[in-house]
């Protein structure tokens, strides 16, 4: 059974329609990459999945006992965070807010969860550091740890490697792949089509043409070939 099904979704804002007739599903353990040009509506799709926005038409259906509030989310960075005085621990712990329920304060289990997710991503030594003073790669790990505090089943990542240097990007991709191997379903927006193809099990291509299928199917499809070629330039003969 699918964890998540999107049926005939139309996405857009007041007077613009971005995509129409979007149909796809995500099963447990899959790794879906969403690719497409800037402005294609990838972030909008993610917000719709998270119920931050309503679709213009169609529906998002959760199954297998998954709730939209039990998804870990790594948003595209917002401006506020750039000079926000917060320690790494405070940020990661805030990932437990959905476990608060009616409680006012975090309990021992929440704190333990925050610490274990920091260990999982290798940032436990940064616990007392100030979030804003860390490098882009470290910040993304922290936000990933926060997202992990909110879920054990599904992560939604909106361009997790944008602005990171190649080495750190590779580490980030490895980290995400390992999480996927541990059984966490991944939906990731990516600009980097080469890595998307390398790591994902499924691809959703948004744009004038919509493609949804397994990564192998994508590589054989016309959209896939064209997009892979366009984004490859001349640097592939090495």
């Amino acid at each position: 059974m699918a964890l998540l099904k999107c049926k005939d979704l139309t996405l857009g804002y007041e007077n613009i329609e971005l995509v129409k007739g979007l149909d796809f599903e995500v099963n447990k353990g899959e790794y879906l990459c969403i690719v497409g040009e800037n402005g294609a509506g990838k972030s909008t799709l993610m917000k719709t999945i998270l119920k931050l926005r309503k679709p213009l038409a169609g529906s998002v259906i959760y199954d297998d006992g998954l709730k939209s509030t039990e998804i870990g989310y790594l948003p595209q960075q917002t401006i506020v965070q750039k000079d926000f005085p917060a320690s790494v621990y405070e940020v990661v712990l805030s990932g437990c807010q959905s476990h608060l329920g009616r409680r006012l304060f975090y309990n021992a289990a929440d704190k333990e969860r925050a610490l274990s997710n920091m260990k999982r991503l290798g940032i436990e030594n940064l616990k007392k550091h100030c979030y804003r003073e860390l490098s882009g790669g470290q910040q993304q790990r922290i936000l990933l740890a926060r997202a992990l505090c909110a879920t054990e089943s599904m992560l939604l990542l909106d361009e997790p490697v944008s602005g990171l240097d190649p080495k750190v990007t590779l580490e980030m991709y490895d980290l995400i792949r390992n999480l996927n191997k541990e059984g966490i379903t991944i939906i990731m927006i990516s600009h980097d089509i080469q890595s998307a193809v390398r790591y994902s099990s499924h691809i959703l291509h948004m744009g004038s043409e919509i493609f949804y299928g397994t990564t192998e199917e994508y590589q054989r499809s016309d959209e896939g070939k064209k997009y892979l070629f366009d984004n490859n330039g001349g640097d592939h003969n090495a």
Partner: protein, 279 residues
């Protein structure tokens, strides 16, 4: 000097002023941290002008207790400005400026058209910069202030974790099911309450100084949300105490003195931040 201070403190009215001053400084610094981080520093300014306008209306209508009118109007504006957040058609800062200047002008106009005393510019000056004498607080006002302040501090502590989460990353909070809108309205209401209270002490022009200076100072030196919040509260209490003492000992206006002390503290914190390489 100490004698003079002790003599003054024996007078109930001076004690009232002290209690109110310290409590307001405490509350406004707590909220200041949120406002500065949410990029809403101007809202204090805007709302205090709204409160000024409402006060003018109350005076014209002849209400004995202007709080009855000032508080609801300010709360309403606060919700409109803060809670609607980023989705509003009019951009946030522009709408704040609009409401702020509009309320100020209308208030001033009303005070001139329907003067309630012979000294209009004196009245206006008092509402804008606070009373030059701190001995004008009535006992009921002090009680109200104490009750509301305790309420604000208790609520702030109770919702501290949610306030942090929502301020740090609204969309993440929303995604995991935190009631972000309720939280924003709650913050807006508290801010309106503080501003109306603080107007009595420092006047509407200086309210925003009381709100933003301690937070900005603290952010220069500290790096976790908890330490910034705590230091901001301590600093604000210290600065307004010092300002109050100075205005008791010397013939200087309370509001402006407190703000001057706050500015000095900010400069010191800036230097400390630079020296320790954190600013």
């Amino acid at each position: 000097m100490l004698d003079k201070f002790v003599t003054y403190m024996a007078i109930p009215l001076v004690r009232y002023a002290f209690i109110v001053g310290v409590l307001i400084a405490l509350c406004s610094s707590l909220l200041g941290v949120i406002l500065v981080l949410k990029r809403f520093s101007y809202i204090g300014d805007g709302l205090s002008h709204v409160a000024f306008g409402a006060m003018a209306i109350a005076a014209v209508v002849g209400l004995a207790d202007d709080m009855v009118l000032t508080l609801p109007i300010t709360i309403l504006c606060a919700i409109l400005l803060l809670a609607t957040g980023s989705n509003t058609k009019i951009k946030g800062d522009a709408s704040i400026a609009m409401i702020s200047v509009g309320a100020l002008a209308v208030g001033y106009l009303l005070m001139n058209l329907f003067p309630t005393s012979s000294n209009v510019s004196g009245d206006v000056c008092t509402t804008l910069f606070g009373s030059t004498s701190i001995l004008t607080l009535k006992k009921e006002e002090v009680v109200l202030c104490v009750v509301l302040s305790i309420l604000v501090v208790v609520l702030f502590i109770a919702f501290y974790n949610r306030i942090f989460a929502v301020t740090f990353d609204e969309s993440f909070s929303k995604a995991v099911g935190t009631k972000v809108n309720a939280c924003n309205i709650f913050i807006a209401v508290i801010i309106a309450v503080i501003i109306v209270l603080a107007m009595n002490l420092v006047g509407s022009l200086l309210v925003s100084a009381l709100i933003i200076f301690p937070a900005l100072s603290s952010m220069r030196v500290f790096r976790s949300f908890l330490s910034v919040t705590i230091f901001s509260a301590l600093l604000s209490v210290a600065c307004s105490s010092l300002g109050l003492i100075l205005s008791i000992l010397y013939p200087v206006p309370v509001g402006a003195t407190i703000v001057a002390v706050d500015i000095t503290a900010f400069i010191i914190c800036m230097i400390v931040g630079k020296v320790t390489g954190r600013g």
